[in-house]
Symmetry: C3
Subunit: 205 residues, 3 copies
């Protein structure tokens, strides 16, 4: 139940981030909705395809699509009358990354795969929606920016695996990694934190 | 049978649009064919993966691939000797969008999913091939252009759902939405029609 | 067994090519690893999804992921202290293309699909990982460059089908097309070989 509500919240915030990104591209209203839908369901869809979870979550329960369309429309209306708070796209994206990473890891664990795959599935679930959004909008993917992005997702998914091993099914195993990912992203954005970039000795590769 | 022939026609026109787009990129002959194939089968493949329709349509019936390769080669030969008619890429794309949206919606309906998902699957089927073509060719996706694109697809898929509800399995339920999508796209291109873009109050998001 | 070792080698060289490409983009360490993983498993994952081979190869056997992460880390360390040999990215990519094309064709053949689909699956398996790498890194996909790329993959997959028909299961049916693809790519890069580009009579399409 908590997982279900978090999942709804996750698709809603990614729908908002999709709508905000698409809105900057002068797409028409329905184009914005399509991008919002793809952003919101992209990560979970790839997760379900890879794990062969059938039917895909939004086919099994169309409530997701209703929530996504409503969130996208609300974003459209809000943005028409009031300026979105500064940095709202990055915050929505950080929140979606945190939610989807943990949900993805949890779903993978439920499918009985090994720990390294739980971490990878959490990361792919977390980043795929945003990557699809950026590729479709011809933006440089957020994942490419120097600040801790995939790192936050991998760290959170790993902490989830550890905590869930110690206390299976506990709320802490869900909330702690979510908080960690969200905090890492916000800190990275505000303080311009980053792990050292990989610099090859010579660009001539 | 009608569905089958329309599907063949759909892959052929998307193969033409893929070949024309790829041809402008100075790819070699086989690169053009690969892009044509991916453009033509992309939408239906994603549809079949999401709905778990197995085997995928072109694996079940390789005739599709023969038609696609033939259409791509014919486009190559034609374009070598005669100038393609003005706007031919946009017309081929509009026709493919119309065909694939309706076929995608029809396939989804046959799988017994709910109406909102029928509309979404029609739209994804219609736009995915062209999006893959544009992303692979490093073009700005057509879906991003301001003129009615996803809008046409959503409108057509919705009309399909309504008509098919009134008169299940009728030809009209197939032909009317197809005509609508095609007409909307052509009108949008010729008359520079567009629904109002979503403009956030402030770009600072 | 030979297939298994070649597959491991294939993911390792694509992990190296992913790490080298990502490294040029100033991603952080974990971002590089994510790109390396996606580059290395992308082709085989799409193959397994399309053929409905379950579970996906790297979910069934996480050794792949360990090899990929190790190869990416080794690339990071090496590149930090020594300059990667000139052209190393192109050579790693050529080797990965050769391996994955043949492995993809072989897997498709084992699934009992028709010859044209064996060739297409080999090509998609071979090029998809590199295309994902390039799209995620916002590079112009290698497949778009004029030199023989998809052509090499199609030629190799076709030769595989022919040889495997003459001598089913022979080592030659694996090694000859692999050598052909690798040689074609190296020759194309060094000698600036290319098949004539498709030039439409008029760009006005």
């Amino acid at each position: 139940m908590v997982l279900y509500l978090l999942d709804m919240l996750g698709v809603a915030v990614f729908a908002v981030s999709g709508a905000l990104t698409a809105g900057r591209k002068s797409l028409d209203l329905f184009g914005v909705i399509v991008i919002a839908v793809i952003t919101a369901i992209g990560g979970g869809t790839i997760r379900d395809l890879l794990l062969d979870n059938r039917p895909i979550f939004w086919i099994a329960d169309p409530t997701y699509l209703v929530v996504i369309v409503a969130a996208a429309l609300a974003t459209l209306v809000y943005a028409r009358f009031r300026r979105p708070p500064r940095g709202s796209l990055l915050v929505a994206d950080a929140f979606g990354l945190a939610l989807f990473t943990v949900i993805g890891a949890q779903t993978a664990e439920a499918a009985g795969v090994s720990s390294i795959i739980v971490v990878l599935m959490g990361t792919i679930t977390g980043v795929a929606g945003g990557v699809l959004r950026d590729v479709l909008c011809a933006e440089i993917p957020l994942i490419l920016r120097r600040e801790i992005y995939a790192t936050a997702s991998i760290a959170g998914a790993s902490v989830y695996v550890l905590l869930n091993d110690l206390a299976p099914g506990s709320q802490a195993a869900i909330l702690v990694p979510m908080g960690l990912i969200f905090a890492l992203r916000l800190a990275a954005i505000r303080l311009d934190l980053h792990v050292p970039p990989f610099k090859p000795k010579d660009r001539e590769v």
